[in-house]
């Protein structure tokens, strides 16, 4: 118990002192997971819309794969991305292994199926006739898609939160493809693992609290957006 209070005190101290290393780690976590989530929203929402609005052979299989993808273990993703980016690997020429870009790539692979799967469920939950009704009101295809997204905005924001939550908290892939390099690829989760293994529990706790506050803040912001639209 004492350890936890000590960790809280230390976290506050590090935050108030604006410790440059902690600040850098925190900002990098936010940046990497933010960009990864953004990429996943574009890809995941696009995929969900494509599947939801079209009938094609093998649609059920695609949906099953998307749902399976929601449970991809980050270490498995980390392994595949590492092999892919390895010096002699197919994408080795990019030279991005052990850079923040590699972490963004791995996290996007993790978050895309989460956002795609939950977005698809959100879109499929809309009344089946709504698409025809919107077209019957004279909407162009673009307007129709926009209105569908607007109607599903609550669960879609939940999908984005789930995607962001999944990558800001994962450690396996970040450590494998980023390497936890000080000043370059060290993020909150990898730093926490490292400090814990070294027995620096206060710092590990401090980093964990920051991680929690960060996750809470981002989700609070999205929740605010979500519920504000609800009250209208």
């Amino acid at each position: 118990m004492e350890l936890i209070w000590e960790g809280l005190r230390k976290a506050l101290e590090l935050l108030l002192r604006l410790d440059p290393e902690v600040l850098r780690i925190t900002l990098l976590s936010l940046k990497v997971s933010g960009i990864a989530t953004f990429i996943s929203v574009v890809l995941g929402l696009g995929l969900a819309l494509t599947v939801a609005l079209n009938a094609f052979p093998g649609k059920r299989l695609v949906i099953a794969l998307m749902n399976t993808g929601m449970g991809l273990p980050p270490v498995v993703v980390g392994l595949f991305v590492t092999v892919l980016l390895w010096r002699n690997g197919p994408l080795g020429f990019l030279g991005i292994l052990y850079t923040p870009t590699a972490i963004i790539l791995a996290q996007a692979v993790i978050a895309t199926p989460i956002i795609a799967g939950l977005s698809l469920a959100a879109l499929q939950h809309l009344p089946p006739g709504l698409r025809l009704q919107i077209l019957a009101l004279g909407a162009t295809r673009t307007q129709m898609i926009w209105l569908l997204l607007k109607e599903a905005r609550l669960p879609l924001l939940a999908a984005i939160m789930a995607g962001f939550g999944g990558v800001i908290s994962e450690v396996g892939a970040s450590i494998m493809v980023g390497g936890n390099l000080k000043g370059s690829t060290r993020v909150l989760t990898t730093a926490t693992v490292m400090e814990t293994s070294r027995g620096n529990f206060e710092i590990a706790f401090a980093l964990s609290f920051i991680l929690l506050v960060l996750a809470f803040s981002v989700n609070a912001l999205l929740t605010h957006l979500q519920q504000r639209s609800r009250r209208r």
Binding site: L132, A136, G138, A139, R232
Partner: protein
Amino acid sequence: MSRATIFQARDLQVHRGSARVLEVPALDLRAGEVLALMGPNGAGKSTLLLTLAGLLPPTAGTLHFRGTRLHSRADRDAYRRCMTMVFQDPLLFDATVAQNIASGLKLRGLSAAERQPQVEDWARRLGLGHLLHRPAHQLSGGEAQRTALARAFVLRPEILFLDEPFSALDSRTRGELVNDLSHILAETGTTAVITTHEQGEAARLAHRLAVMQGGRIVQLGGLREVLNHPEDPFVAAFVGMETLLKGQVVTCRDGLLFLRVRKDSGDRAMVALGEAQPGQTVLVGVRPEHVALSLQTDNTSSARNAFPGTVTKVIPHGPFFKIELDCGFFLTAFVTAQSLSELDLQPGRPVVASFKATAVHLIRREGLDAQL
């Protein structure tokens, strides 16, 4: 009354997988008319409606709107801005009543200042004036469907498609809505196509009636023509259950209406229960279970209406027999096997059909004289 044809469908076919679910060789819509599509579930009513609305591309066939063939996606997109559709589910957006009514105008790029007066006008006309700022999810079923109708009418559609718009509502709400819709259709002269399996709804709203079965139109014609002169047993079983006659109110006293009913062989008097103004034109309906048959006019009976006629057909109908009669108009009666043998009912047999004043079903309509 002749009207210009504004929409033509030719050789329409819709296939689902290998099954043909719709086959309509020809269907025209005339400006200002209301066409009702009736038929059992799975008859293809909704499929035909979606195809006519340009929302379901047919497997084969052509659609022409105001002389232009709807060929490319661009043609269909342009056509979609000339029509609109109301579904059984109101399918409102998660927004206020006013925002819902405005949605189609907004899609057409009208500014808020341009939208507002039209939205308020149509909200008022559908009795939603006090609900403008209410979120759609707080509306009752009837209010939600009124909002859907306002959202459609505010677009001043050249053709309005209605897919069983009132089926999900309780009978009182449905009656009110059918009433309001018939007023608005008459006022605006909107061309409309409505699917329904309620004969009363079709009788209140439609000028022409198409009866569908197995993806085909089995009979298409004027409302009374189809109801009173079904061309085949299916249509007769589906709609011929009720005879519809046009009559004029002569007098009204003590809740009894004395009507003059026009028949091929001259006018006849009929007595009904109800309130109406002398001179008013009404439709009267009689259901077969209310018609009694005898060999001569029975003065002791309480039935006030008696019409001599001839049996044209005897059809077994469950535990009863359905007797089709020619009394100068089409009339059907249900009789038991016992009556059938006692009266020796067979085609050509002269009988007297009688029914009580309470059995006469009154249907009042807007501008009936012009339409029928």
